[in-house]
Symmetry: C2
Subunit: 83 residues, 2 copies
């Protein structure tokens, strides 16, 4: 068993409305930041897990995303092993 540090990023699919991102766009513009075209907000999870291999760690993380971390109807996810 090896300890892996993974980063799971969950973002809204294209076409799904993101009111929180829109609010941030508005606030940035009100603070004087010009040139911001779009902001979309997502979630990131830093997961530390034990697994037999990098491959099995990634399989396990994908399964966590399908079952808990992401709502796959409206969200995409990406899994990276950081170390």
């Amino acid at each position: 068993m090896t300890l892996f540090n993974a980063r799971v990023t969950v973002t809204l699919k294209n076409g799904v409305l993101d009111p929180q991102g829109k609010a941030i766009e508005g606030s940035l513009s009100a603070l004087g930041f010009a040139g911001v075209e779009q902001v979309r907000q997502g979630k990131v999870f830093a997961v530390t897990l034990n697994a037999d291999s990098k491959k099995s760690a990634i399989q396990s993380l994908n399964s966590m995303c399908e079952k808990l971390l992401a709502n796959t109807v409206i969200e995409d996810y990406a899994v990276e092993i950081v170390a």
Copy 2:
């Protein structure tokens, strides 16, 4: 002016309690995922912005983090230009 796609990641500093991460740890374990040592949740912002150069885009994004996107008392941020 060039259009840059940036990714801003905001995570809790080490030592700051993360009850949401703890809840996810508990849920993963209840779902039968063994070997998860720690989960910490953060935020990710996909920002599309116009800037004169990559350097000025990064400066602008750091300033956005200091002023709005991150609470620098308890959170760290990282800025990457994706494309």
